[in-house]
Structures are given as C-alpha cells and as structure tokens.
C-alpha cells in the first residue's frame, strides 16, 4: 500500500502538525537535487582550478567581487524580509542548484545547440543568433528544474507565490553569479592586455551593474510564478495549471531571448555609454515584468499573512494596528524602519527591524504549529523588543 493511499484512508487530522524541512533523506527528489549539485561542484571546481593556474589574480579577485555582489542581492532580499519565507538551507540549495547543478548541464547543451546551428545554418548565423537560441531555452529549463525539485523536497513549505518566487530568484542568482565568474576568468585568459584586474572590473561593470538587475534572477522569478500557480491552485483544471506554468516559462524565455539577441545593436556603437543605453532599453521590459510578478506575489502574501494574523495573533500588543496593515507590504515596512532610523537613531531602527521579523516568525510559527508553547519564544521576544523600542521612540516625541 503506497503512502498516498494511506494518506487518503487516514484522516488528514491524524498527521503530525508542522512543515517538512529541506533535509529529506527519505525522499528521492532530495537525493536527485543533492547528487546533481555535488556533480556540478566537482565540475565547477575543476573548471576554476585551470583559472587559478593561468590567471590566479583574476580568479581570486573574481571570487571576491562576485561574492560581494551576491551579498548585496542577499541584503536587498533580507531588507524586504524575503528571506523570512524559508529556512536558510532552502536558499543555499536553490543557490547551489543554480550555480552548480544547472551550470553543469547548461554548458554542453549550449555548446551543442550553437554547434548544430553552425553546422545546419552557418557560423555567421551563430555569431549573431547563437546565444539567443541556445541560452534561454537551456538555462530557463534547467534553472526551473531545480525549483521544481526543491518544491518536491518540501512541498508544504510553499504556501504562497512569494515563497516559490524567492527560491526561483535565488536559483537564478546562483546561476548568474557562477556564469559571471566563469566569463570573468575566461575573459582574463584571452584578454588583450597583460592585466588580470581589468577583466574583473569590465565584467563587473557590464555583466554585474549594467545587466545584473534584469538577468537570471528576474527570469527565473518570472518562470517560477508559473510553478507557484500550478502548485497553489489544485482546484483549477489541470489544463489551466499547465498552461499558466508554460505561459510564465514562455515569458521568461522571451525576455531572455530578447536580451541575448542582436536586436537594436546596429543602432549603437561599441562605446560603454551607448552600450549602457542599449542594455537599459533591452533590460527594462524584463525588469518591469519581474516587478509585476513580484507585486502580485507580495499582494497575495500580504492577504495570506493578514488572514493568518487575524486568526492566530489577535492580540494588539503583539501586532498593533499600523503594523498589522503593513504585514503584507515589505516596502512599507522597510520605509518605516528607515524613518525610525532617521528620527530615533540606529538602535531604534535595529529594534524595529527585529520586531517586524519576530512578528512574521510568530505568524508563520503559529500557522505551522498553532499557538502554544512553540510560539511563546516569539511572543516574549516581541514584548521584550517593544519594551526596549517604545521608550526610545517616546523620548524624542
């Protein structure tokens, strides 16, 4: 008798309360995910060992620069409380899948597509259209495969669109960072000057600053929305769910395709100024699309939090009215923290940040286990932080 059948027979209420962790050694999806990440790790280490031997300064500086770049993204995610959606291991797995698992498979597939285009059409065609044809289909498919595997590993961790989108964005970020590092090292090995620092700076400018916001993290977030919709709407017909997932994937593919294509390049010369304009023109639609998906996900997440808070945390000393209103608005929460910081100092801002996060944790913990001893820690923390924060805010009023 399989487990699903057992589940059907057994009353739902008999199963233990809680959410699954992302360490699931008894689930096949976990092992597939882990094995492919480890496989990618060996490939990536081997690849970079050559970079370290040939251009050691570039390799070291590149790792440092792209690590800082990753950190900046993480800080932005954290500032918007997006990292509260999952435990850290979920983000580590997503990042590792993007940077190791997906990159490992993307390399031979992209080479094969470009080689086939050269053989079946011409090398001239590949020079112009090869990246647009090979990159989007391969990379979007592989990154999304990791998102689906992660969802399979701990399905009940994904209760909102936002919880899937942030994992998608992290997968895309992992891919983006390792790809950028690879390009940096390769560029240095064939750089026309005997300088190992310039390639890092040039790649940071072009691939990181001018292209970073509308790159893989944005595409995978868009594609992940389809997965989220498929997952969270079991009441809809299967055809509609699949269509939505395919539509989002197609949109992510189209954005990536336009970005990699040579469209509009003839209108601009090779200078950095004009290149920046071109990149903005091609990148803004992707950024706008990603923003719309994030906004919808944030709106749904807000409604979800409000519903949970209204039921599980009715006490107004734990979540005051104004705080309750801002639960689903990460930007508003961030603005309040900033305003408090400007007006009442850094300590007040830090306390306000802690307070907001504890409130989110309390709601999530209550949703997972119900109110009781397990949520007491967060209730105590909220009251303690408020006791510290209120005098600070009141003193200056």
């Amino acid at each position: 008798m399989n487990l699903l059948h057992v589940a059907e027979l057994q009353d739902k209420g008999d199963w233990p309360i809680g959410t699954d962790s992302f360490f699931q050694p008894h689930r096949a999806a976990f092992w597939v995910l882990a094995a492919l990440i480890v496989n990618g790790l060996f490939y990536t280490v081997n690849m970079f060992s050559m970079g370290f031997r040939v251009v050691p300064i570039t390799a070291l500086l590149g790792i440092l620069v792209w690590a800082i770049y990753t950190l900046v993204f993480l800080l932005v995610f954290r500032a918007l409380d997006l990292l509260e959606q999952h435990p850290p291991e979920a983000f580590a797995l997503a990042f590792a899948w993007g940077g190791l698992g997906a990159v490992y498979f993307a390399a031979p597939a992209n080479i094969a597509i470009q080689s086939l285009c050269a053989k079946l059409v011409s090398p001239d065609f590949v020079a112009a259209w090869g990246p647009a044809i090979a990159g989007p289909i391969t990379e979007e498919f592989l990154k999304l495969a990791g998102v689906v595997l992660l969802v399979l590993v701990a399905r009940n961790q994904f209760q909102t669109y936002l919880s899937v989108l942030i994992v998608g964005a992290m997968t895309g970020l992992g891919f983006q960072v390792v790809e950028n590092l690879t390009y940096t090292v390769n560029a240095s090995m064939h750089f026309p000057l005997e300088n190992q620092v310039y390639p890092v700076l040039i790649n940071l400018l072009t691939r990181g600053l001018l292209s970073g916001l509308w790159s893989h993290a944005a595409y995978t977030a868009i594609a992940s929305f389809g997965v989220a919709w498929f997952l969270l709407h079991p009441e809809r017909p299967m055809v509609a769910r699949i269509a939505c997932a395919l539509l989002c994937f197609a949109l992510a593919w189209a954005m990536h395709f336009i970005w990699n294509s040579p469209w509009l390049e003839d209108l601009f010369d090779g200078g950095y100024g004009e290149m920046a304009i071109l990149l903005v023109i091609k990148g803004v639609p992707a950024m706008a699309a990603a923003w719309l998906f994030w906004r919808e996900a944030a709106r749904e997440n807000g409604a979800y939090l409000h519903a949970l808070a209204a039921y599980f945390v009715p006490e107004r000393d734990l979540i005051r009215d104004d705080e309750w209103l801002r639960l689903g608005a990460p930007l508003l929460r961030y603005n309040v923290r900033r305003q408090i910081g400007w007006t009442f100092g850094l300590r007040a801002r830090r306390l306000k940040t802690q307070l907001q996060r504890e409130q989110l944790r309390l709601i999530r913990k209550a949703m997972t286990y119900g109110r009781g001893a397990q949520t007491l820690r967060h209730e105590v923390a909220i009251r303690r932080i408020r006791a510290e924060l209120d005098p600070l805010v009141a003193v200056r009023l």
Partner: protein, 186 residues
C-alpha cells in the same frame, strides 16, 4: 478557519525521475544530435579563405570545421587528426604579451610543454612574427603569432594534432602560413 499545516507523506520519485529524465533527454539528446551531425565543410581548391584581416590558401584535403569556427574571429581547418586554427582579434599593446599569455595558458592550463624559446619567423610574403613548438602526452604542435601594429590587430595560428603523420601535416600547415597575408578587406 486557517488550519496548521500537516506533514502528510507523499511520493517524490515519479516527479524526481521525470525531471532527471527530462534533463538527461534534453542535454544528452542535443549532444548526441550534435555528434552525429557532420561539421566539415569542403573548401574550394586553390581559393583564398578570409578570417578578419588574414587570408590564406588552404592546402589540399583540409576542410573547415564549422562548429569550431567563429565568424570573423576564428577559422578551424582540419585534416585527419590535425587541426589548423587561425584566430584574429584586436591588439591592445605589448608585442609579446599575447604570446606570453598563450604560453602560460598552454603550460599551466592545458599541461603542455613549450619546446625551447620562441623564435622569429618571416614568410615569403613578408609576414613576420614569433613562433614556438609545443608538445603534450598525446599531441604536438606549433604556434605562430603576428602583430600588425598599423591595424592594431593580432593574428595567431595554432597547428596541432597527433604525432602520427605530424611531419606531413606540418609541411601543409607551413604552406598555408606561407600563403597568408593580412590584406583582406575589413
């Protein structure tokens, strides 16, 4: 009324297997298709081919490998197990810089050994530059580099292949180099 989430068991192997098969099918299928699609393109006998500023006459029997040639940047010819790769690009300074980097790439990156020091060469057309020979456990080859200061362009020619039949192939590679000039229209 919201209910706390429950840890209901479910199977993941059908989904995980489907993803694994999809990845293997996609990547493996593309690699298989590519390997079984011929990439050779015969070149017209006695006619010049151009890559960047460089142009030369391919020796008889050498064919173009279209999958390893990049339009305007590199041209890969092959005959049996021997390859003749011409790469062109901008030169940004330091006449010997690119040569030093190539040596470093070969020695540290590809684990090849450089045979002696680079020496000067001049072709009958007046093309001049530096060259060195190299070898590894399974292959040997020679590298030529020409820097055109006027056009600020760099041309690198890399001939390599299995040691079996290397001398005959090397003679043909030299004949291709001898026929080379940098007068191709931009």
């Amino acid at each position: 009324m919201p209910e706390p989430s429950r840890r209901i068991p479910y199977r993941t192997w059908p989904g995980a297997l489907a993803i694994l098969l999809a990845i293997a099918g996609y990547v493996g299928g593309l690699v298989f298709w590519d390997r079984h699609t011929p990439g050779n393109r015969p070149l017209p006998a006695g006619e010049m081919v151009e890559i960047g500023h460089a142009r030369f006459v391919p020796a008889t029997g050498w064919e173009m490998d279209v999958s390893r040639s990049k339009a305007g940047k590199s041209l890969m010819l092959f005959k049996g197990g021997h390859k003749f790769l011409v790469t062109t690009g901008p030169w940004a300074g330091g006449a010997d810089g690119p040569l030093v980097r190539q040596q470093r790439l070969m020695e540290r990156g590809q684990r090849l050994r450089i045979d002696g020091d680079p020496s000067d060469f001049v072709t009958t057309w007046g093309l001049q530059g530096k060259t060195f020979a190299y070898y590894g456990s399974k292959l040997a080859g020679r590298f030529w580099q020409v820097v055109d200061l006027q056009r600020r362009s760099l041309v690198q020619i890399d001939f390599y292949g299995a040691t079996d039949g290397l001398n005959e192939a090397m003679a043909e590679a030299r004949s291709m180099l001898e026929s080379m000039d940098l007068e191709a229209p931009p």
